[in-house]
Amino acid sequence: MSVAQAVAQPVAVSRRLAIRFRPSRVVLNVVLILVALFWMVPTISLLVISFRPEGLYGVSGWWTVFTEPSQLTLQNYQSLLGTGLGTGGILDSLITTALITVPATALVTVIASLAAYSLVFGKWRGRTAVFLVIVGLLVVPVQVALIPVAQLYHAFGNLTGFNPYGTLPGVVIFHVAFGLPFGIFLMRNFYTGIPKDLLEAGRIDGAGEWTLFRRVVLPLGVPAAASLAIFQFIWVWNDLLVGLVFLGGNAHHTLTIFLYSQTRTLAASYWVIATGAMISIIVPLAIFFAFQRYFVRGVLAGAVK
């Protein structure tokens, strides 16, 4: 091969590679942008509809807002929020949902952490077997327990006079129970990563189990606990079935029940649904954005491990 040929060859190859490379990257980016836009459309449509006057629904599509932005209005929000804290209104539902979600989340996080500690650092036999049983409970559908627990609540009411059915605590108790398998799974897997030497040193120094838990394991486990809490929070906040069943005839609704009941009224006013839905997703969305990393980690821990 002559020098001229040898020099010419690399240049020719380089041009071929360059041309083959660029179009695919541009196409890829365009496709992804289109997909992302498409994905945002439902959320945006809800947002826009909640800001449009009720009369326009069914007359013109929400997408006309781009050509006629003047149609936007706050009146929907004013109407809904204007009912104040009255029972059955949206603010009342917001508070009800919070009153259920916060205790459920806190309880699950604490109880699961305690149980996980026992499963990892305890010195009793059969820890693995118990853990496997708990993990097995992960797949038990909520539906399986609904009727007997309702019956249990009634029986408990006959016995003690306090019937959890139809009360907020009744809902919380149920949510905690079904949040525990996942919570214990997540916390236990995290705790196995804590070096046992740390606790051995503490024990030699005289610490009891409770001290070790409170002052060594719990602080170290904050990342996992945060993931669990966020995951649980969003899960309970968005639940419909458990609320429907166990709040029964309670005048106070959760946000999801509020929205669901709108679909069952004959004159379904979509502006209520849209505005209500927007209000209901503000809290989980805020938490999602603020703690995204923890939420994703919770999802990953549950599935990949």
Partner: protein, 365 residues
């Protein structure tokens, strides 16, 4: 088999970091060359550029006579043994070794022959049906080697293949690789940070530091005639002692350092005079020190023994003079005890002189 040539090979990363700086190296057909140097010196980057896994910023890589800069790895006719072996976890040992040939649509009987032959050479015949997860570290390493052998490449590239093995296995595998090289007569480019591996296996060694080639030569050349202080200190274990000295100003060709006195012979004195140096860095290897105080030119150290390590035939001694530690390997002698003051000396030919600024060696010993 083919020769590999690196011409002004350079790698600059996006942030401006210069990982490999104008590396020039000529590797003959069938030669075993080691690229050696401390972590981060650029040796692995250079190897990956030869393989085609890293883009070349400037310079050329030739395999055979062909410039391969823009060829993808699969067209360069090379095989790479990774530090972590990089075996396909879901394929059997047989399939791991056969994969490359399958992709090239080699007929099945031929594949079988090649794989079985490689397995025989590497004593892997019993494991052909197992998956990598069921093998020990040493066995996996051999599978990685087998995968390379089967391809019959123009050059074998190896990236620290022994560093994941325990000490005993490492010594054993070192010999196996050397045997493999003799048997296949293949061109091998071997990257390692362990100078013992380089010294024992290579035909020639290229010492690299901070992206720059320090010296290329046979193990003997590097050991006896290091070009600069870095190579002198890198090659040899335990490493060379260094001391800063200055001319004694007593008219004689004498150097004085901390606890060290050097009387130069004529050649050395001439070299100092030619360069007009008043101060110089002196280097001497632990194994070249002997107990005693003879006269004449040479190096003398008087120091207090701090630690004595018994090595069987020899003893390794750490001795302190002033604030400086001298390491010496001498014949085992029960009379040497901790706390004693000992006089050590070395012949002029074992005394190395280095320019204090450029750190270049002042000529042959």
């Amino acid at each position: 088999m083919a020769r590999v040539a690196l011409e002004e090979l350079t790698k600059r990363y996006a942030g401006g970091n210069l990982a490999v700086d104008r590396l020039n190296l000529d590797i003959a057909d069938g030669e075993f060359v080691c690229l050696v140097g401390p972590s981060g010196c650029g040796k692995t980057t250079a190897l990956r550029m030869i393989a085609g896994l890293e883009d070349i910023t400037s310079g050329r890589v030739r395999i055979g006579e062909k410039v391969v800069n823009l060829l993808p790895p699969r067209d360069r006719d090379i095989a790479l043994v990774f530090q972590s072996y990089a075996l396909y976890p879901h394929m059997s040992v047989y399939d791991n070794m056969a994969f490359g040939l399958q992709l090239r649509k080699t007929p099945k009987p031929q594949i079988e022959k090649a794989v079985k032959e490689a397995a025989r050479i590497l004593d892997l015949e019993r494991f052909l049906d197992r998956k990598p997860g069921q093998l020990s570290g040493g066995q996996r390493q051999r599978v990685a080697l087998g995968r390379a052998i089967v391809r019959e490449p123009a050059a074998f590239l190896m990236d620290e293949p022994l560093s994941n093995l325990d000490a005993k296995l490492r010594v054993q595998t070192r010999a196996e690789i050397a045997r493999l090289h003799q048997r296949l007569e293949a061109t091998m480019i071997y990257v390692t940070h362990d100078q013992v591996e380089a010294m024992t296996m290579a035909d020639r060694i290229a010492v690299i530091n901070e992206g720059l080639l320090q010296q290329v030569g046979t193990p003997k050349e590097l050991y006896e005639q290091p070009h600069n202080r870095f190579v002198a200190g890198f090659i040899g274990s335990p490493s060379m002692n260094f001391v800063e000295t200055a001319s004694h100003r007593n008219g004689k060709a004498e150097l004085q350092g901390e606890g060290v006195n050097v009387v130069l012979d004529d050649a050395q004195a001439a070299r100092l005079r030619d360069r007009g140096l008043e101060a110089v860095v002196v280097g001497f290897r632990p194994e070249h020190l002997k107990v005693g105080e003879p006269g004449g030119p040479g190096l003398r150290v008087s120091a207090r023994i701090d630690v004595v390590e018994f090595l069987g035939n020899d003893e390794l001694i750490h001795a302190v003079s002033g604030g400086r530690d001298t390491v010496a390997i001498v014949e085992a002698d029960a009379r040497l005890a901790v706390g004693d003051t000992v006089s050590l000396w070395a012949e002029p030919r074992h005394v190395y002189l280095f320019d204090p600024q450029s750190e270049v060696s002042l000529g042959g010993a």
